[in-house]
């Protein structure tokens, strides 16, 4: 047992001996080292591509003959692309707000007429589902605004956002007052809004 103890201390000695030269070298040298961390940050960013069409012109919107003359015609779906849109962070969301087309004649329309044209703006390409806003203006153009928020995009994404304008209709399918009509679609890409 004693001899075993002796053996073990003998074994440890060389270890001490080897460690000594390393510390002797450090003190002998004139160099010194230190560490400097390099850091940076990337801001959270969402950028929408330039809309492929700055103005969607529906042209002449009513039927000029037949049983429904003067009432809205079947207008084709209009598409606008926002190519190369991206968010560099997870948890972004697409919002669409739409304003009904309103006639430039601001006077209240007579009975049987409308100065508003409603439609649905549907944005696709972000999150798991479409984002659709449908306007519901009254015949006199009251309450023309509508907005919708889509589902959360769970990861950073680069892609094209397509906006389709469809289901053009006049409130109560009324006759449309003559004039120029205009509406507005706004697409917003950003972080999921925090409710406080």
């Amino acid at each position: 047992m004693k001899s075993a103890l002796f053996k073990s201390s003998l074994l440890m000695l060389p270890l001490y001996g080897m460690a000594a030269p390393a510390s002797a070298q450090e003190t002998a040298s004139e160099t010194a080292s230190g560490q400097v961390a390099v850091t940076g940050s990337v801001a959270r960013l969402c950028i929408l591509g330039e809309p492929s069409r700055a103005v969607v012109d529906l042209g002449q919107m009513v039927q000029t003959s037949g049983a429904s003359v003067g009432r809205i015609a079947a207008l084709a779906t209009q598409s606008v692309s926002l190519p190369g849109s991206f968010c560099n962070f997870a948890g972004s969301v697409l919002g669409v707000s739409a304003t009904a087309l309103l006639g430039d004649s601001a006077i209240a329309p007579p009975a049987g007429f409308s100065r508003a044209v409603n439609y649905t703006a549907t944005a696709t390409g972000w999150g798991n589902s479409d984002t659709a806003a449908t306007t519901n203006a009254a015949v006199d153009g009251a309450s023309p605004d509508s907005a919708a928020t889509g589902s959360t995009q769970p990861s950073p994404k680069l892609g094209d956002i397509e906006v389709a304008l469809s289901s053009f209709s006049a409130p109560q399918n009324a006759l449309l007052v003559a004039g120029n009509y205009s509406g507005l679609v706004t697409v917003t890409l950003g972080p999921v809004p925090v409710t406080e």
Partner: protein, 184 residues
């Protein structure tokens, strides 16, 4: 000490990151435009096939024009204009269709009347076939309108004077024309 400061600066960057996130959104607009032309539709006549049937024009005991001539109103249903508009009414006298020669002395082959178109404007448009000018035949409306137009005829008078008798003919015919015109 230097190291301590460095970490403090780093912490500052981390804290400022959420503030930047508030402006991480972007939005894009595009306009949607269209137009509606000025349209007027006269609608359709809904009663009696669009004919004012006056029946026998003369009093069979005297040969003179009946004094009690009348015809039910005709209604132009489904009329509308999508802009400000004018309504015009025009008429031609009721004229013998078979007896086309000049009427003999003491006779006439024509009956004048006045046509009115009401419901579109405050003052009905009216046209008298006996008048050389009919300034009231055109009336303006400043707003779009949709509604029935009621057309009436009346004030019948023998062309040439009440002392003339009408020549016999199985068909006397006149017309009433109502015109809606969009105005810009």
């Amino acid at each position: 000490m230097n190291r301590l400061k460095f970490f403090a600066a780093l912490a500052g960057v981390v804290i400022s990151a959420p503030a930047q996130a508030q402006s991480a959104s972007d939005s894009a607009d595009f306009a949607v435009v269209g137009n509606v032309p000025a349209i007027c539709v006269g609608g359709s006549v809904t009663e009696a096939g669009g004919i004012f049937d006056l029946g026998i024009l003369v009093d069979t005991t005297t040969g003179f024009l009946r004094s009690d001539l009348s015809a039910p109103s005709q209604v132009l249903a489904g009329s509308f204009c999508s802009s400000r508009s004018s309504i015009a009414v025009a008429a031609t006298p009721v004229v013998a269709q078979t007896f086309t020669a000049t009427a003999p002395t003491g006779f006439s082959r024509s009956v004048d009347f006045t046509a009115t178109a009401a419901g579109w404007t405050t003052i009905p448009a009216s046209f008298s076939t006996a008048s050389a000018s009919n300034p009231a035949a055109i009336q303006q409306r400043t707003t779009a309108f949709s509604g029935p137009i009621t057309v009436n005829i009346g004030d019948f008078a023998t062309t040439g004077g009440t002392g003339l008798r009408l020549v016999a003919d199985t068909s006397y015919r006149g017309t009433v024309t109502v015109t809606l015109t969009p105005e810009s």
